[in-house]
Amino acid sequence: MRYAQLVIGPAGSGKSTYCAGIQKHGAATGRSIHVVNLDPAAEAFKYDCDFDVRDLISVDDLAEDDDDTLSTMGPNGSLVFCMEYIANNMESLEEALDTGEDDYYVFDCPGQIELYSHMTVMRTVVDKIRSWNFNVCAVFILDSQFMIDVDKFMAGALTALSTLMVLECSAICVLSKMDLLHGADKERVEHILESEFGQLLNENPPTAFSKAYRNLSEKIAGVMDSYSMVNFVPLNLEDEDSVTDVLLQIDMSIQYGDDLEVKDKFPEDVDNEDDYGGWE
């Protein structure tokens, strides 16, 4: 069984930074965490890639193509073209992932919501990865600075749900860049994270908006309180404990660790009972 995190979320939310941070954390704690870039429109990133989809195809390749239909595609068209190409050519990815049992992979995915909601392409990619014996967890990342009140939190959950409902896999929502929150904003976010949404709706003085949309807000709050997939987990990449917490949640979600065999540094397979005899 192998394990995969699919890192998704709007552009700028901190997906690539997260991947780099998790990989670094893995190295520091003796876990091997492989990262794969699945975003053909990615800019520079700070992690070591086991596989970069841009070696297969990238939006830059299209821009330089001799064929005019390709080189004049706008950002959306070229991204869709690349993703469809990738979905139809998954063999090279499969080979690159063929390293061994108990492998843990983090996939840095493109952000555009249309790839998930309006097209089957990302769903196809995810299903393929699952078919290669991976337990998959979607990690939906949102920038905490955009989630500083209850309404915005609900907006964030709805954005996450619009993507996650299509992928049909277990999921965790992560609030990134918590280190950039200060003062009143930080307190508000922490309070929201600790409270039930049903209760939060009653805490603030009612505004014209909250009154007009009261019923809708209550239904949304109901979903947020009932489904752990939209329980946001705060993340401060500068804080080792925070990273450990997030990783723990995700690991539980993909049942990483359930099947783990004890590994030591010796090259022999420790399952062989006879070997223990010589090791005091």
């Binding site: 700028g12 998930y116 909601s117 309006h118 749900l161 619009s162 409902m165 979903v223 997939m229």
Partner: protein, 318 residues
Amino acid sequence: MSEEASPTPQTSTPAPPINAVTKDTPPVVLVLGMAGSGKSSFVQALTSHLHKKRNFPYVINLDPAVRKVIFPANIDIRDTVDYKKVMKDYELGPNGAIMTCLNLCCTRLQEMLGLVSARSSQFPVCLVDAPGQIEAFTWSASGSIITDSFASMFPTVIAYVVDSARSTNPTTFMSNMLYACSILYRMKLPFFLVLNKSDIVDPAFLQKWMQDYEQLGASIEDAREAYINNLTHSLSLVLDEFYASIPTVKVSARTGEGMDDVMATIEKCKAEYFEKYQPAYNELLKERLAKDVKAAGDKLNDINITENPNPEAEADSE
């Protein structure tokens, strides 16, 4: 803008009065939607419809990456920022470039609003075509600044364009509607759905789904084998409330059908703006704007854009 706000490069134009909107002020319609939903075509069709009635709208293009603007734009963001040059000079990918273009646009926003305001007695409605990458607008500081700034000076409403033809897939439709609902909660402005491409597929089935959520739920369960049908059911209940709260209009940008209904809906939403949004705005606006302006400024600083980002670019794109 207040002086203490931020490192954002500012022009010396004074800040607008906080919400001086009166009932005579024409509405601004922010046209949002997924890529391919037909936002620009919709803007073009509505503009054309109004032109035929000699009732000329004020039209703004905010999509920096579009190759050709198909409607007569009074203001075009591409006159202020050169998307390809931004991508090249700052070594950004398409996402980064669009966000940066919007951030740069924000530094000239007061000027832009001034231009629109100066003409406000001359047009019935101002249409704003948002960037094709929806999250560059809905999940960015610059998107918020632009929205809030318009809303502080004009009754502002959101038109969310839906591709009816793609929405025959119930999963796509539900996902799209959840996203629309998230925009409502982010922007907190009057909101209506534009069911576009009704010449290809009659959106009546969508309206039926909206009225009877169980039908939609059943369609989803048919379309899939196994899923957390509980979650889908709960989400259907959420969306049921959502549809009850917002108007929808069937249009075809290609045939021009539905444009009168759109204008009527805009008027209705304008009235909502005064009832529901204006009162709260003054309070929240100042705080939000200051924060967003700082965030946008920080983003520009991150990629080392200073007061005169690229004087040659400004000259070239003239």
